[in-house]
Amino acid sequence: MTAFWILAPIMVIAALGILFVRKAVHAALLLAVVMISIAVLYAVLEAPFLFAVQIIVYTGAILMLFLFVVMLVGVDASDSVVETIRGQRVLAVLAGLGLGVVLAVGLSQITLGTVVGLENANEGGNVEALANILFSRYVFAFETTSALLITAAVGAMVLAHRERLTPKARQPETAAQRMRDYAEHGKHPGPLPSPGVYARHNAVDTPALLPDGSPAPTSVSRVLTARGTVRSAPAFADDIEDVKAALAGPDGGASSGGDQSAGSGYNTENPSTSAETRESTPGGEEPEVSR
């Protein structure tokens, strides 16, 4: 019973966590905790075969399938807090409490008597005993599950299959479409700007800066923006001022050789010209060109 009293609070807390966490991935991980705990309880309850099957089928297969679908559905899958039906949450909790009360009353009115235990039934091995029953009394149900599994596999393939209705766009069509977009909507035909290509940070979650100092929204991934993990660009714009000040100073690379000084000379020229551009065009033509 020690395993039970350790695992039961963990399971209840993890199951309650599924109710309250916002992201589907966290719910899946909490469900994994519950399922592995249940597997341990199966082992305690003298069901070693179900212990193995629970870990292999539930934690190994079904939860992995859940995680794959969470990844495919993506970051927009987090739950919305807005109630579409008024008072639904309160009523749902009340209904759950009602069910709990009914179950508690029902459980309090039964007496289970003495536990027989599985020593006799498990004699000669749990797996062998299960196989004896499965292939004698339940053999028809067992064969029917094969039809069920095949139906499920075919159904999943049919549902996931997507018929191609239009011809596949090859490279000439893609290029023509890009030029058409450029002609009609003025959409830039080239690739999107790469993220964070400036002095100190080149991580993918820092947006690139336009010449007027504003962040380029197309330079970071849409997924990162949806997750809210994109760093703020104005702070890094201040960093650039720092870098420019440091480069403009006289002690640029005096201790190194000629190569280094040449490089610093190039660097000191470049920010000054860009600063002039910034002063002369305060949010004017320059962003349009670089977009």
């Binding site: 109710l19 719910a27 069901a47 079904i62 709990g100 536990v115 299960l130």
Partner: protein, 100 residues
């Protein structure tokens, strides 16, 4: 011999939590996870009763529940994927075309 009543009580608690989850959560995947939680709690009760009565029919029933749950998850997740592909949303409230 230990008593199996705590297992049955735990199973009832987990079933209730799963039921509330199905009723409150909006994300179809999380609703599906709560259904899995309810199935698992039923399995726990079945295995506990198998020990109580000293025969293996309860474990066989739990085994069949697992098989059916696996098939159900495969088809259900494929349906969720299809709905997400057409509607760009995994919320159960958005799929309301058949409402009226």
């Amino acid at each position: 011999m230990t008593d199996v009543t705590p297992y049955i009580v735990l199973s009832a608690i987990l079933f209730t939590i799963g039921c509330v989850g199905v009723l409150t959560r909006r994300n179809a995947i999380v609703v599906f996870m709560c259904i899995e939680l309810m199935l698992n709690s039923c399995n726990l009760a079945l295995v506990a009763f198998a020990k109580q009565h000293g025969n293996l029919d309860g474990q066989i029933a739990a085994f069949f529940v697992m098989v059916v749950a696996a098939a159900e998850v495969v088809v259900g997740l494929a349906i969720i994927m299809t709905i997400f592909r057409t509607r760009r949303s995994a919320s159960v409230d958005d799929a309301s075309l058949l409402k009226y």
